[in-house]
Subunit: 290 residues, 2 copies
């Protein structure tokens, strides 16, 4: 449908932006790097991710690798500068940025939203890897007004990075990532928050069970506050259901504790029921993982 | 202090019991295998874990590899049969079994409680591995009336299995494992329980973030109901604190959702504060892991 992708501006040279730039450079695409902090763009350039600064002419595609709440204002600005013929972003939520983009009066034809499902615990350009997106899904959320040629350009970007394009509706994307990414991140944080007072012996006793559950809790609070607040509705719907289950488990355990070893059948059944549903959810997910 | 450990009865030939038996057989210790279901003991024997059945004479040590609520009744029974000169168990909680043992009028001198900090998602003798305990901590909880010679025998068991003996008080053990094992297991189950309705696309988008958080949710609901109910007090104390944090996060997200992109500074600060505590707990645990 569209023309070949030859030149790209990456705005925001953190982990994701720099990883995209490195992947594109491997394919000999011309890449320009920009960041609110020019030193970070120069760091990315020093890693071989492209040239820091403004392109001499409009490029084929601008990739906004900025936090969700920055997508609207930054898109408005780069479209005003006519930086490229196509625009995409990589924000972890899609509905809120889309609402901001409409509110800012952006051109909707030249924009297709995106979200590569890849990341690392570390952030910043020094954590970037050219193969970060290899074999990973990369969601695209074209709107009714998106130009098919622009969608084609963004799909070329995904394929050049080794990702697998998955077209979804904004709200379907947001409720899905709330379930598979944002709520699990909060569960990890909620558990990790309890460990600040863990004594030395406790750390020694902990095994893979704990380390796996809390692994993502090391992520940047600033970035995650931005992600969660821009997907607040779908995430809070899940947390409300978790809170109901949590209350039922706590009630059952309190009953069992008060009975001091006497078996309260109802409480045991409630506990077993929740654990059984955890089993069912785990198996539902696992049988379809392969 | 005590005599060498030459012969052992393992009562309960599931994952842990059979793994202990296999490790002891590697060291040429004589092992007898017993289970409520004799077919399971014969399965373990078929794997080379020892001889199914009763020893001709009292052995050095009986290992009770039964669920926490079974430790008291089974210890009373095997002591009555004078099966060995020393007794230990491997239950994941230590205070409730100890209370049951006292209530059952068991001999406290010949018993030292134990808990090897090792496991697998799979259960049963076929999942057993001789190296399951290699390099892992193995908590021992001698009481004031435990005979030092018995403690010495149980420490020999731990070392023959490649484990690292860690002596702790029952209640210190229980509050520690509530934090590093039981509460994380419930967090995994609570999250996994939300996935039963996850559509195909959602499974495709899920990455390591989700799979790590829910990994332990595949564990046996029967076994975990037993573990959690026998450590209900320490676990519910942690869940109550999690529930408070969860409520604060949900309130913040609800406020941010209602403000539809308008930034509510207080809600953002509340969210960032929880994520920051998650970071702190993660780092506290991680810096001391090595």
């Amino acid at each position: 449908v569209g023309a070949a992708l030859n030149s790209v501006v990456v705005v925001g040279t953190g982990l994701i932006g720099t990883s995209i730039a490195l992947a594109l450079r491997r394919q000999e695409i011309e890449v320009f790097l920009q960041d609110r902090d020019p030193r970070i763009a120069r760091t990315a350039a020093g890693l071989g991710a492209g040239t820091a600064g403004e392109p001499p002419d409009p490029v084929d595609l601008t990739v906004l690798a900025v936090p969700p709440t920055a997508v609207g204002p930054v898109l408005e600005q780069v479209q005003r500068r006519r930086l490229s013929r196509a625009y995409t972003d990589v924000a972890s939520t899609k509905h809120a940025p889309h609402r901001d983009i409409v509110a800012a009066g952006c051109d909707l034809r030249s924009y297709v939203g995106g979200h590569p499902m890849a990341g690392r615990e570390r952030s910043g350009p020094l954590a970037a890897r050219a193969d970060l997106f290899q074999g990973r899904p990369w969601v695209l959320t074209p709107g009714p007004r998106s130009d098919p040629a622009v969608q084609d350009t963004v799909e070329q970007l995904v394929e050049l990075c080794g990702g697998i394009p998955v077209v979804m509706d904004c709200q379907e994307h947001d409720s899905t990532v709330a379930l598979v990414s944002h709520a699990p991140h909060l569960m990890a944080s909620l558990m990790a928050a309890r460990l600040t007072a863990l004594p030395q012996t406790g750390r020694f006793l902990a095994g893979r069970g704990l380390s796996d559950v809390i692994r993502t809790a090391g992520g940047s609070p600033q970035l995650w506050t931005d992600i969660l607040s821009s997907n607040a509705g779908p995430v809070v719907d899940i947390l409300d259901q978790v809170a109901l289950d949590l209350r039922a488990v706590a009630t059952a355990l309190r009953t069992l504790h008060a009975s001091r070893g006497g078996l309260d059948e109802r409480a045991l059944a409630d506990l077993m029921e929740l654990l059984g549903r955890g089993n069912a959810g785990y198996e539902h997910w696992q049988t379809n993982e392969a």
